[in-house]
């Protein structure tokens, strides 16, 4: 278990991170979510030991030197261009205390895992963004860390690279405790157990995706008409609060009203063609906007 207590970083009078406290259970995956400038990278830098906190502490159960047990992938990993992928990964393993006789084997194994088996003898100068990100993962996991810290692991990638990286991260979820920052909320929704919402350096909400949904989600019906005119007409005559977006009408559910039955009976009498009726939940992005009060 990793415990972060009252972690703060102050630059002059500006608090980049203020009183950040949370725990990471072993084998879980946690997303640190926040807009650009929320303090995510500063928080991760303190966790990895790159940045000295103004206050607070990071503790890992039964671990003296926390840096030995952390694997870190920065948002834009930079490698020595004159080293090959294998040389860099092997060096990373050795620096993390892996015995020399095992370092090369372990480096080759993780390079295979991230899909760089055929590129391990290439110098990193020739690597694309996606390959660098894969190599970044490889150097972060080569010493089998207890905690994997990833700073915006997919935000700099194209859609194909992003998808490949998400698959890789899901595989890693089975091996390590993962803490990663992101502002792409779909990613967090896809692979996260716990969410930490950060805004202006402060933790404004935390909990499991399920708990946060239960607390902030609001349920709605979405009725899709074949034209915007029909949608507007229905909305103007609806007995419940509605919102119109193109051909869709959203109806808020308050205290289980209206029920699906009530809605259907209202729709049946209409002379319009209805494309679809469904009960929808908020996206994580909508929840986030609600949490941060925007």
């Amino acid at each position: 278990m990793i415990t972060v207590e009252h972690l703060s970083k102050v630059y002059g009078t500006e608090k980049a991170v203020a009183d950040l406290s949370f725990t990471l259970e072993a084998g879980t995956s946690t997303a640190l979510i926040g807009p650009n400038g929320a303090g995510k990278t500063t928080a991760l830098s303190m966790l990895t030991g790159l940045l000295k906190p103004t206050n607070g502490s990071v503790r890992m159960e039964n671990v003296q030197d926390i840096r030995r047990e952390i694997g870190f992938l920065p948002q834009y990993p930079h490698f020595y261009p004159w080293l090959t992928a294998l040389e860099f990964t092997e060096m990373a393993a050795k620096l993390n205390g892996v015995p020399s006789r095992h370092a090369k084997k372990q480096a080759e194994s993780v390079l295979d895992f991230v899909g760089l088996k055929n590129d391990k003898f290439k110098k990193t100068a020739a690597f694309s963004g996606g390959m660098k990100q894969r190599l970044g993962i490889a150097q972060a996991i080569v010493h089998k860390p207890k905690l994997l810290v990833l700073d915006e692991p997919v935000s700099a990638l194209d859609p194909v690279g992003r998808r490949e990286m998400m698959i890789l991260l899901k595989q890693l979820q089975q091996q390590s405790t993962i803490l990663y920052s992101t502002h792409i909320l779909n990613d967090a929704e896809e692979m996260t157990g716990q969410l930490l919402f950060l805004q202006k350096g402060r933790l404004v909400e935390q909990g499991s995706l399920k708990d946060i949904r239960a607390k902030f989600d609001s349920f709605r019906y979405k009725v899709q008409f074949s034209s915007k005119g029909e949608a507007l007409h229905f909305a103007s005559q609806s007995p419940w609060p509605t919102a119109v977006e193109d051909c869709d009408v959203f109806i808020e559910i308050n205290e289980n009203v209206p029920t699906m039955q009530q809605l259907m009976s209202q729709l049946i009498g209409l002379p319009f063609s209805i494309e679809k009726v469904e009960r929808v939940t908020m996206t994580l992005e909508e929840i986030f906007m609600k949490v941060v009060g925007q």
Binding site: L50, R68, P77, H78, F79, E87, G97
Partner: protein, 259 residues
Amino acid sequence: MRTFTILLQKEFRESWRSFKFLWMPLLFIFLGISDPLTNYYMEDILNAVGNLPEGFSVTLPEYAPIDILKASTGQFQSLGLIVLVITVAGMINRERQSGTATLIYVRPISFMALFMSKWTAASALGMISAILGYAGSLYYTSILYGSVKFIVFMEMVMSYCVWILFASAVALMFSAMFKTALATACTIIALPVAIMIESLIGQYWHISPWKLADYSVQLIAETNNEYYLKTLLLTIILTVLAIILGILFTRKNAAATKI
């Protein structure tokens, strides 16, 4: 010690693959052989160039081996030193600015091992270059001007290597302290410019690391210089001080690495 060895291996690999171990010694060899050759063949060179006025004659001084080695040292102390220290002055800060240091700093390394690995690699590069440069100078000096006692020559080279150790430590210390442009400026002021100042007004004091190269060449003459040992000792003390400061600043500025 293990971290130091791993990081030193990385530094040597970089120097090797970026051809520093080729062009830096070549530069020093070129500087080392240029003085004995140009001085010896100066008359021939002038005649070959031609266009000399009718009746023009030039009387060139008779050079002793020590004069030639002094001239070679002067070359190393100007162009050679500038190239060397500019290379060293970017070794730490450039890695911080590019972000390559990030993936090193997040690991359980000691900043002493990090600094010492860079200093060792930089010093080795400088010393190998200087030794080869002096070897080139000695070769032509012996052929064209007369021989020099090998033991005394080695004393001179070793003594000059202490200066290289000092120069590398100072350049690396500034690299740990400041960003590349400022570090380079400070290094040039503290080393090549300081040598020029020393040559202009240095007669007012006798003990200074910036005099070590001159005192080293004087070893060839086998005259007793009462200030030599004190200068050598002061240079070593200041080298240690620069290393300590460099380590402290490497640690202090680690958070400045680009993430």
